[in-house]
Symmetry: C2
Subunit: 453 residues, 2 copies
């Protein structure tokens, strides 16, 4: 049995079917933002259920406190380890006026399927199903498969942790996710993600707004005080000034440092600037990447209880103000400990500043030297025919944290999308050539870990 030839033929010949299936998925506007499209979210799971049944999966749709989750099981009948494959079928809204076609009436043009969710994450989610179908059809080795495709990823997977806890799922030996991006032109394996603590700093110094002329300088202005406190939390070089904040942050070294240098070497500052159109804190690629991936951040997003209307300044002093903050965390930093340290710090500035904690997710990391990683790298090189890079991300994928917490098993993130596909952007597409390579990569990977546990 010539694996390589069979896979090449399958991946090429399946594309017309794959295209039709992807179009059917994209037609369903499964937007999770705004909580108004429950029916579409259920419909997308019914659709994936129908598709996977065709390929031999046993399927169910599980309700949660939030949006439903699809689970598809394909057992090999042999004593094999369990691989859980996670992706999501909800999509971002698509109201950008730059859309040239209807985002939910996908078209195929120049080898690309264009529409909302094509690359994030319906296209990649579908390649994996065909990768598995290939292995099954030709009777190649593979682990037992459990698909978990959810519909709340784009809103931060708020119910995914409790979903994992409450349901009788197969305990995986490893987890495969395909919801990340190539690093420039290179395939990538994301082994490290920052966590997040979302919080508010609240200060109430009075019961009503007061006149800033008649009483200004006498009655406290909570906005002035919070600004003072915030300026003492982070400096202009992005160093966080909260005592003890960096206590458990490990220095990057060894393999991680080597891989970072490898990415930095290929990094195009020009392209980064063209994409972001923003001033940068740092233009040295190594330092720039380090700051996003390995350095925690303290970002201020806004305020409540203040004047925000354009072109109006009223002569009133606010009485109750909240600052909106997110702290991105790196491995080693526990959200609860960080919050405690922040609380202690801001209380020194004003004893009545309250820290109100909202969502939090710990950072995640998978050892680059892990055997699954080694196979994933080989599979990427095989399928995409380009050097794969080990990368981190400054972002947070809620499910990764929940998987790590629930199972403590290797989580492998293999990218199939490119930033230029229009991730979270208008005119999003997924190239069918990339789909073909994705099917090959995924089949190779899943086959190569068939006996790992």
């Amino acid at each position: 049995m010539n694996f390589n030839k069979n896979l090449k033929d399958y991946a090429r010949s399946i594309i017309p079917i794959y295209t039709k299936e992807l179009i059917d998925l994209v037609k369903i506007p499964s937007i999770s933002h705004g909580n108004k499209n429950k029916k579409d979210l259920l419909n997308i799971l019914k659709k994936i259920s129908k598709t996977t049944k065709k390929y031999g999966f046993k399927t169910k749709i599980i309700e949660t406190k939030g949006n439903p989750v699809f689970v598809g099981i394909l057992e090999t009948g042999k004593k094999k380890p369990w691989l859980t494959i996670y992706n999501h079928l909800d999509v971002q809204p698509a109201k950008e006026k730059e859309w040239k076609t209807n985002p939910f009436k996908p078209i195929v043009k120049q080898g690309k399927v264009i529409g909302r969710g094509t690359t994030d994450d319906k296209g990649p989610a579908l390649t994996i199903i065909h990768a598995i179908n290939f292995l099954k059809k030709y009777n190649y080795e593979m682990p037992n498969i459990q698909l978990i495709y959810e519909t709340e990823e784009e809103i931060g997977s708020p119910n995914f942790g409790s979903f994992l806890k409450k349901n009788k799922l197969k305990t995986p030996d490893s987890i495969l996710i395909s919801d990340t991006l190539f690093q420039g032109k290179n395939p990538s394996l994301t082994y490290r993600l920052r966590g997040i603590q979302v919080l508010e700093l609240e200060l109430e110094t009075g019961k009503k707004e007061l006149h800033s002329g008649v009483l200004g300088n006498a009655v406290k202005n909570p906005l002035n005080i919070l600004i003072d406190a915030l300026s003492k939390c982070v400096d202009e070089k992005r160093n966080v000034l909260i005592p003890g904040f960096y206590d458990n942050v490990k220095k990057i070294k060894g393999r991680e440092l080597k891989e970072l240098k490898n990415v930095a070497k290929r990094f195009s500052l020009k392209k980064f600037k063209d994409d972001t159109k923003a001033e940068l804190y740092e233009e040295n690629p190594l330092k720039l990447l380090f700051n996003i991936w390995y350095k925690p951040s303290f970002e201020i997003h806004g305020f409540e209880g203040i004047q925000y209307e354009p072109n109006v300044i009223k002569t009133s002093i606010p009485n109750k103000v909240k600052a909106k903050v997110t702290i991105r965390l790196v491995p080693g930093q526990k959200p609860k400990e960080i919050v405690k340290k922040l609380q202690k710090h801001v209380k020194k500035i004003h004893p009545k500043i309250k820290v109100i904690t909202l969502d939090s997710v710990e950072a995640s990391v998978t050892d680059i030297n892990n055997k699954f990683m080694v196979k994933a790298k080989e599979a990427c090189k095989y399928g995409f025919n380009l050097e794969p890079l080990f990368v981190a991300t400054g972002g947070t994928i809620g499910s990764v944290h929940h998987f790590q917490k629930a199972y403590k098993k290797p989580i492998i993130l293999i990218a199939q999308s490119l930033l230029s596909d229009g991730y979270h952007a208008p005119n999003e597409y997924f190239s069918l050539k990339q789909a073909e390579k994705g099917i090959k990569t995924m089949a190779k990977y899943i086959n190569s870990i068939a006996d790992f546990d």
Copy 2:
């Protein structure tokens, strides 16, 4: 001719007529905020025109780029100096749900006229007309009179400066205004007002909002940077940190210090706390009053371009942010110079921070030892039968600045209202007893300066 007895009788016997006239004024909802009530503003001037004609004034209503102004002239026919009397007939909105009666259907209860504008400033504006009528009726000495009653005071008199410049008005030898507050229970003469510079600090570091996870710590967050800049403009003790900010601020001493101490001695901290319901920077009365009256302030009111919606924190970094700031100025500080110093200061923090100047008004001061002041003090003691205090205010009355700039003549602010009347608050009232005393005070004052120039 017994001046005292005649005045006492007039002030008492005119109250029923005064009450009816005040009620007619208050019935017209002459709200200047929101720019929707032009007709009411014209109507209130027509009404005051009708009333003053009855008392022998020649009247006209002058249009401006903004709201109209009433001018009433009463010449003595003798070679007398000119006294300009300024008040305003526009009122604050009255949407507070605490109103127990219809704010624009005034009632009389327990010797008080209740309704929006009764004490600010229709009641006081009307006592002066009766004070003049008294002097005219009995043929007592008085200067030539020019009433200027405008309808933009509650929105900062934005067109008053150009009104004074563009129209052929009588050049006054002094100006009388009755739009201030008693100091606690004591009559007050406001000899000093802070000025104001309204401004925005703007920083744009990018063309679009970006993802705070994927790009946070790499792309600049203009809100973080502006907060850093603002924290370097003012410290927690309300000291402004802009280099050179205090250069032309004179130390308070001599008569001013003496009068401040006199007020501080009578100051009720408890009452101040009950009224403001706010935390204070300073509880020592002398320091507290000093900070409002003699110390400039740097107040932060809000931001544009940031997240302000309750209970939502999106993972985006803003790209263009404006901070809303007012600086209250003291005599000696020129708005333009202060803005230059601020510009220079914030540019050191980020070269692209722009200072956008909006309204500005210089601080005003009238010498306490001025002969008009001496007579005003005597008149207050005579009319209100209580020790008058020389006070300053942290607030800004736009017209005072414009009068000072246009004429460089003494401006005398005699208060008739009490804070407890509900200035800018629900259930505003003006007590008829206070009106009676006001008429006596004003008549006494106007008579006593009949030959001053």
